[in-house]
């Protein structure tokens, strides 16, 4: 039997996910990482991306935007500001948001908050990537 560890995804409004997994993949500031049990303790900042939780019975995918993860040998806690399952995502809205963000970036003026526009674009792309599949 493969090693398992506890995975928690907590958002301000609820405990989004809590369960046992064999591996978890997510996107951090330093790039995409996959974490197996008995990882070294690590706290890292998350970038918007798809989190894949590999459970013994199958995979689960969720979109996570902004937050940080605390990795311990027997436990991973992700503190996310926003987290969504694929079926909670409104694909149309995400497409619209993507278009809006792209427009904002294309017509950039001095007043445009580029960081914000790029973040919005990234969020939309992650949502589409997850829900479109």
């Amino acid at each position: 039997m493969a090693d398992i560890f506890t995975v928690q995804i907590i958002t301000p409004d609820r405990i989004f996910y809590e369960g046992e997994a064999t591996m978890i993949e997510f996107n951090t500031e330093a790039g995409e990482i996959g974490v197996y049990p008995r990882h070294i303790p690590l706290t890292t900042v998350i970038r918007p991306g798809v989190v894949t939780i590999h459970e013994e019975s199958g995979d689960k995918k969720a979109a996570v935007h902004a937050g940080f993860a605390e990795i311990l040998p027997d436990k991973v806690s992700i503190m996310a500001e926003i987290a969504e399952w694929a079926d909670e995502i409104d694909l149309e809205r995400a497409e619209e948001a993507k278009k809006r963000a792209e427009e904002r970036i294309a017509e950039k003026t001095q007043d445009t908050d580029m960081d914000r526009a790029e973040l919005a674009l990234k969020k939309a792309v992650v949502r589409i990537q997850l829900a479109g599949k």
């Binding site: 958002t11 301000p12 409004d13 690590l42 706290t43 940080f68 311990l72």
Partner: protein
């Protein structure tokens, strides 16, 4: 003695007031239940956030980060969370009292008001209201909390303000809620707390790594920590508001009950008095004729 008609009119007026207070009590009971559930749901996030932030700080006590030391500016920002509506007993005035009777100098304060009731009083007292964001208290979301926090943190890092405080009502349970003035930034932990954190950090016998590095992680995590405290405070304030209103309306209803029974007694006495008087008059009249 007041006439029967007067007493009757007064009694029916109190009765209709009582109906209103009763209805308000029921409404706030329902709202309280909702707010309480929400407040409970935010606890895991907040607890975890506190743990992480404190364990980083415990280990990196020597880090010299702007968030950990007071800014040069003598000014302080206070986010004041009150309600948009009154009729909640001392709920609004207790929060305002934290400022008016506290030891923060009035002229150095910049108020970020959430809740019109508190804002109105502070304006009248001559406080400097920097911004009014009363709209969000009706249905606070994490995004709202973040928007407010970003603004305050921005002016903290620009050096416009040196300290950030939060005035809100802590929700202990349905009957007990206490107004609190809390310092958000710079983060300060007492010696005891630090010792405790170190203790628990050592128990784990783990050395936490930070990516990209401790300072940067701190830079990212502290705003989130502050936002989560702030969001928790908002949610608790809403719960406290409804609990306070429920209590106020409950006692108003029972006071009305007392007044009604008192007036009923007076009314019946007056009625009996007038009947007795009429009878005596008739008997006296009959005797005079015979």
């Amino acid at each position: 003695m007041a006439s029967m008609k007067d007493i009757k009119r007064r009694r029916s007026s109190i009765q209709s007031t009582q109906q209103i207070t009763k209805a308000m009590k029921l409404v706030s009971t329902v709202k309280l239940q909702k707010a309480k559930t929400r407040a409970e749901k935010t606890t895991p996030y907040f607890d975890h956030m506190y743990q992480t932030a404190s364990s980083i700080l415990a280990r990196s006590g020597t880090i010299n980060h702007p968030y950990l030391s007071a800014g040069d500016s003598p000014k302080a920002a206070v986010v004041v969370i009150t309600a948009n509506r009154g009729l909640a007993g001392g709920y609004n005035s207790n929060v305002v009292k934290l400022l008016t009777q506290g030891d923060l100098p009035k002229e150095n304060l910049e108020i970020y008001a959430i809740g019109t009731k508190g804002k109105d009083v502070l304006v009248r007292r001559g406080y400097d209201i920097k911004e009014d964001m009363s709209g969000i208290i009706d249905a606070p979301t994490y995004a709202d909390a973040k928007a407010v926090c970003d603004k305050v943190l921005q002016s903290f890092s620009n050096g416009e303000i040196g300290e950030i405080y939060l005035a809100y009502t802590f929700f202990k349970n349905t009957v007990a809620h206490e107004p609190r003035l809390m310092k958000l930034l710079p983060l300060e932990f007492s010696e005891e707390e630090l010792a405790e954190m170190k203790q628990s950090g050592q128990d784990d016998k783990l050395i936490m790594n930070y990516e990209p590095n401790e300072e940067e992680a701190l830079e990212r995590i502290i705003p989130k920590y502050v936002t989560s405290i702030f969001y928790g405070a908002l949610v608790e304030a809403v719960a406290s508001e409804n609990a306070a209103r429920m209590q106020a309306m409950d006692s108003a209803t029972s006071n009305a009950e007392d007044m009604i029974s008192d007036l009923s007694l007076k009314y019946n006495r007056a009625r009996q008095g007038s009947i007795t008087q009429e009878l005596t008059e008739i008997i006296a009249g009959a005797e005079a004729i015979s």
